[in-house]
């Protein structure tokens, strides 16, 4: 739902034959467990959901904020969640408030988001960016992102990795992660959830269970640790057990390419 997802960098990693977008789709798909109820966004998260469903989470169910619930995948690539192929064969096409009710009552395991900015505590900005010269960039806004970030069991975010997109603190907090750190969610009254994973074009960040701060958990092939650190707007900590991000398998790649044959989303 966020334009940020459209801006994911289109560079492919030089030594392998997959694009960065494909890697991100694969990494995102691995965050979905079987039987989970998933609040799916468009673009890469949708492909990740479809991939997971095909390979390791056949009984995962997709919820879309327009009111659509799908157990079986659509037969065509979607450009919006309102495309007719996303209705045909859906399990249920109901009101937005009904689907949001499932979210609000804690039935959604995981939600996927993009954003203009994400900060150290996993807060997202999809509303307004104030640049250093004081000028503003108006982003499209929350859509359902702030609701999903408030109410889903956990949040996976997909982002382009750059210093200006990953500030220490978002200039506008659209979608709550851990706010200012431990216990913030409880203090403001949020009943569950929080940022679980941040998949960028350079690595995968996770959140420390105590400090709630994002740390680097895996690093993508051919990405330099120093580069990641310099392209992050705060002093990024790394896992004691920092590893390479597992490469996509041939099977994963072939499904992704079947899902997006013209690389509209995964170029």
């Amino acid at each position: 739902m966020s334009r940020a997802q459209a801006q994911i960098s289109m560079t492919s990693s030089p030594k392998s034959d997959y694009t960065m977008a494909e890697l991100m789709v694969v990494a995102a798909s691995r965050e979905i467990k079987d039987n989970e109820i998933v609040f799916v966004g468009m673009r890469l998260p949708l492909l990740a959901f479809l991939l997971a469903k095909r390979l390791h989470a056949p009984s995962a169910v997709a919820l879309f904020e327009n009111g659509v619930i799908r157990e079986s995948p659509a037969n065509e690539l979607l450009f919006t969640m309102g495309d007719p192929p996303n209705i045909l064969g859906a399990t249920m096409a109901t009101s937005m408030i009904t689907v949001m009710s499932l979210l609000q009552s804690g039935k959604v395991d995981v939600g996927f988001l993009g954003a203009g900015e994400v900060d150290k505590f996993g807060n997202l900005n999809s509303t307004l960016v104030i640049k250093q010269d004081g000028s503003k960039v108006r982003l499209p806004g929350s859509g359902g992102a702030a609701d999903i970030a408030s109410l889903a069991g956990r949040i996976v975010t997909l982002m382009d990795h750059s210093r200006k997109r990953l500030p220490e603190r978002v200039s506008y907090l659209t979608s709550p992660g851990y706010g200012s750190g431990p216990n913030w969610r409880e203090q403001v009254g949020l009943v569950r959830g929080g940022a679980d994973c941040l998949i960028t074009t350079k690595g995968i960040l996770r959140f420390d269970s105590e400090t709630k701060e994002a740390y680097l958990d895996t690093i993508h092939e051919n990405i330099d640790l120093k580069e990641i650190i310099s392209e992050t707007g705060w002093a990024l900590k790394t896992s004691d057990n920092l590893r390479k991000t597992s490469n996509p398998t041939d099977e994963e790649l072939s499904v992704v390419r079947e899902l997006d044959p013209n690389r509209f989303w995964t170029a």
Partner: protein
């Protein structure tokens, strides 16, 4: 009772400058573009536009100078990203400044739900800690009356002056079947003070009454019914025509700059008289290419006794 009138009459009679308007209630499907374009042609100004997700219709109305206030959860080009007129208005006051009061999808849905239900507000568990809540006077932090330790966001009811809804079929009294994406349509039709139905097809009431569970809007809340086939183009209408992706990508490219938008507006809005004229301009080949290719009727449902 027949409420069937032309689009031009419907807009003239039921939309006034200064009104608040809700029109994109199915999100990316069934967007009433033909109504929005007529609003632009009639030079209606100072509108407040409400929506959960606005695909580019609201962007066009902003660029045409009809809008002074937005109350949206999301404004953009869903497939492509930015809505450039919206950005120009907010970032550079072009063509004039607009006020933006941000919502999320759920809080907009709750505001309209409360408006439909005739209650002054709805509580939600969303947006606690979000800057959206801080910047919107219609969102208040409250405690549950049943457990004072439980924090909630109270969302004030919204009752827009006008609601415009594109549906697959309606009778002349306005009772409407619509399917596919529903979004917040049902609530919005109850919440709005005046309702305009734009229908792909006008049908006998017996068609509506053959399947009362398919009725999403009852005629008793409807003020005008307009028959405007292809009125939702370039957005899709389930079972009638598909989304014109190319039209959205072209719009995106052509409206990056203000001048490009002005040319677009001249060509597609000012340059045509009504939707039938617009369809002629689109051309039969384009329309045919968008029509559904494979029939997938709903399974039969028995209402007899």
């Amino acid at each position: 009772m027949s409420k069937l009138i032309s689009m031009s009459e419907a807009i003239k009679s039921f939309v006034n400058s200064g009104d608040s308007l809700i029109a994109c209630t199915c999100m990316e499907q069934k967007i009433p573009f033909s109504a929005g374009h007529e609003i632009i042609r009639q030079g209606i100004k100072e509108l407040t536009l409400l929506c959960p997700i606005s695909d580019v219709l609201y962007d066009q109305m902003i660029g045409a100078g009809c809008v002074t206030r937005m109350m949206p959860a999301w404004v953009g080009n869903v497939m492509m990203g930015s809505a450039y007129n919206f950005r120009r208005a907010v970032e550079k006051n072009i063509p004039h400044p607009i006020e933006v009061i941000d919502y999320s999808n759920l809080t907009m849905a709750c505001a309209i739900h409360a408006g439909a239900m005739g209650i002054p507000y709805m509580p939600t568990r969303s947006l606690l800690g979000s800057d959206i809540l801080k910047g919107n006077d219609s969102l208040l932090e409250i405690n549950s009356p049943f457990d004072k330790s439980e924090r909630l966001c109270a969302v004030k009811a919204l009752n827009p002056d006008v609601g415009i809804f594109h549906v697959q079929r309606a009778d002349k009294n306005g009772s409407s079947h619509t399917w596919g994406n529903i979004g917040i349509t049902s609530d919005a039709a109850l919440a709005a003070k005046k309702v305009i139905i734009v229908a792909e097809e006008i049908v006998d009431s017996a068609v509506i009454e053959s399947d009362p569970n398919r009725t999403v809007i009852p005629g008793l809340v409807v003020d005008a019914v307009v028959h405007d086939p292809f009125g939702a183009h370039p957005s899709p209408v389930q079972g009638a025509y598909n989304r014109d992706h190319k039209f959205y990508t072209d719009y995106h490219q052509q409206t990056r700059e203000r001048d490009g938008f002005k040319r677009w507006l001249e060509e597609w809005v000012y340059g045509v008289e009504d939707r039938s004229d617009y369809c002629e301009k689109l051309g039969r080949d384009c329309l045919n290419s968008l029509k559904i290719k494979v029939s997938r009727p709903a399974v039969a449902t028995e209402f007899g006794y």
